[in-house]
Symmetry: C2
Subunit: 301 residues, 2 copies
C-alpha cells in the first residue's frame, strides 16, 4: 500500500464518554459510518480505570462491527470527548494513557457535542439530561456555564426537577404546604404511602435515581399541578437565562441536547424557543471531526 493510498484510507474513531454509556463510531475520511460500539460509563470524574476500560470495549465492538481486526485499533485516529477533562489534572492523566490508537486527540464532551450539533461549525448547545450545562464556541472563544453537578447546581436538569419535587412533597406531608397530585405521583412511583417510604427510596441515592422522577414532574405540571408548575417554571427560567448568556458571544447556531430537551422546550421563553435549531450530528461525529481537524493541523506544522 503506497503512502498516498494509506492517507486516503485513514480511519477516524469518535468517542463520546458519558456518565452511563460510552459510544464509539468509526468513520471513513468522508465521514461515512464504518462501525459502531457501545459500552458502559466513561466519566473520568468517576474513575479513570473504568473510563479507559469502557473506551477500549466500545472501540473493540466498533472494530468488530466494521469487520476489522482487534489490532486494527492501531490504524485509528481517535477523538475523545470526555467530562471533567477541563480539570488539568484529569486532562494530563487521560493524555498519558497508553491508548490503543494510532494517535489520540482529547477535548471535553461539551465541545464534541457542540461540534456535532452544528456539524463542525461554531455554535452553542444546552445539554439537559440527568444534569444541565451550557456551552458555546465562537471563533476560538469558549463559554462554559453551569454543570456544577447534582446538589450544587444543574438547575432545570432531570435530577434537579426530581430533587425539588421530593423536597416539596416531603414538606407538604409535614404540613408545610398543600398536598397535590405530585404527592400521589411520588407515592405511586415508589409504591409507598408515606414520607418515610419516599425517604427510604431516595436517601443516599445518586442523581440518576432523582432524574427518573422528572417525567412525573412534567406530567403533573402539564395537568396544572401548582407545585409541579412552579418547579418546572423555575428550572425552565434558568435554562432560558442560560441560553441568553450563551447568545452574548453571538453563536451562529443553537441546539438543545439530551433527554429533557423536548419536554423542557415548551416551558422556555419565546425568544429562546425561536433560536432552537435541530442537532445535525451526534457527539461521536463531533469527536471524530475534532480529531481530523487537529490531526491536519499537526501534519501541516
Amino acid at each position: 500500500m503506497g503512502i498516498g493510498q494509506a492517507k486516503e484510507t485513514s480511519l477516524y474513531i469518535g468517542i463520546d464518554g458519558g456518565g452511563s454509556k460510552c459510544r464509539a463510531t468509526i468513520y471513513a475520511s468522508d465521514f461515512s459510518i464504518v462501525g459502531t460500539g457501545v459500552a458502559g460509563r466513561a466519566n473520568p470524574l468517576h474513575g479513570l480505570a473504568q473510563t479507559f476500560q469502557s473506551i477500549e470495549e466500545s472501540t473493540q465492538l466498533a472494530l468488530a462491527d466494521a469487520g476489522l481486526k482487534s489490532s486494527d485499533s492501531k490504524r485509528l485516529i481517535a477523538g475523545l470527548g470526555l467530562a471533567g477533562v477541563n480539570v488539568s489534572r484529569l486532562y494530563e492523566q487521560v493524555l498519558n494513557w497508553q491508548h490503543p490508537f494510532a494517535c489520540m486527540y482529547l477535548t471535553t464532551d461539551l465541545h464534541t457535542a457542540c461540534i456535532g450539533a452544528h456539524e463542525g461549525g461554531d455554535g452553542a448547545v444546552i445539554i439537559t439530561g440527568t444534569g444541565s450545562c451550557g456551552y458555546a464556541h465562537v471563533g476560538g472563544e469558549e463559554l462554559c456555564l453551569g454543570g456544577h453537578g447534582f446538589g450544587l447546581g444543574d438547575k432545570g436538569s432531570g435530577a434537579w426537577l426530581g430533587q425539588k419535587a421530593s423536597e416539596q412533597v416531603l414538606l407538604a406531608l409535614d404540613g408545610f404546604g398543600e398536598k397535590t397530585m405530585l404527592t400521589e405521583r411520588l407515592f405511586a412511583h415508589f409504591n409507598v404511602n408515606n414520607a418515610m417510604g419516599i425517604v427510604d427510596n431516595l436517601a443516599g441515592q445518586s442523581s440518576s435515581t432523582y432524574a427518573k422522577l422528572a417525567r412525573n414532574v412534567f406530567e403533573a405540571a402539564q395537568l396544572k399541578d401548582g407545585v409541579a408548575q412552579d418547579i418546572v417554571r423555575e428550572g425552565a427560567g434558568y435554562i432560558s437565562e442560560l441560553a441568553r448568556k450563551l447568545f452574548t458571544i453571538e453563536p451562529p447556531r443553537f441546539s438543545m441536547i439530551g433527554g429533557l430537551a423536548e419536554p423542557l422546550a415548551n416551558w422556555l421563553d419565546d425568544d429562546v424557543i425561536a433560536e432552537i435549531a435541530p442537532t445535525l450530528q451526534p457527539p461521536e461525529w463531533g469527536a471524530a471531526f475534532y480529531a481530523q481537524q487537529e490531526h491536519h493541523k499537526l501534519q501541516q506544522k
Copy 2:
C-alpha cells in the same frame, strides 16, 4: 450481697448514638455520674456493625472511667437513643443484637434528647446541627417532623445552609446573581479562586462537609450580606414554623439543641424565641432515664 442491696446499687448506662460520635454515661440509681466514654459514629442508618462497635467501645471507656471491670457491662441496665430506629426493620435488628448489657431498652435519639432536655418531663425539642428535625412528646402523643436528611429536607440545618450558600455562589460566578462577600468567604474557606475550585471540594462530599460552611453563612449574614441573609432567613423561617407545629400539641417546655441552636436563635421569630427554655440534661441522661422507667414498668408487670 442481699437482693435489697443489689437493687440499690443498680447501674444505668445512657447511650446517645450519633452521626459523628457515640456518647455513653454510667449513672447510679440516683443519677449521679459514675463514668463517661466517647467513641465514633453510631448511626444504624449508616451501618449496624459500626454502630454496635461504637456502643461497645464507648461502654468500655465509661466502665474504665468508673473504675469498673470490662465484664461489669453485664451489670448495666442500658438505654439507647439511636437514629433510624423508627424504621421497624432497624428497630428489630438492633433489638436482636447480642448486647453486652444486663438488659437493653431502645428508642430514637430524638426521644432521648427530648427526655434529657426536659429532665424526664413532657416537652418539645428542635435539633439543628448537621441536619434538622423537630420532636414533641406530650402525654403519650408523639410528633416527629422534618429530619428527612441532606438533599431531601433538613432546612435550616448546617448542611442545608452550606449547600444553599454554595449553590448561590456558583450561580453568582456564572453571572446569575451578584458576587457578594459570601463568594470571597467560600474561596477563602477552600483556599481556591474560582467555581471549579469550589466544585472540586464539594462534589460527592457528605453533609458534614457542607455543614462546615454554615459558620461563614452566619458571619456574612451578620455583616449584612444580602445573599447570606436571604438563606439564613429562609432556614430560620422554616425552624420557626417547625416550632409552631410542635406547639400545637401543647408541650409544657421547648428547647433548641445542637451546634446551630445558638447562632440560629437570633433569627427566629419572637413568639418562638419567647418559648425557648434551656436544656436541663444531655441525651445520655435521657437514655438512662428512659431505661430506668421502662425497667420499672417491666418489673411491675
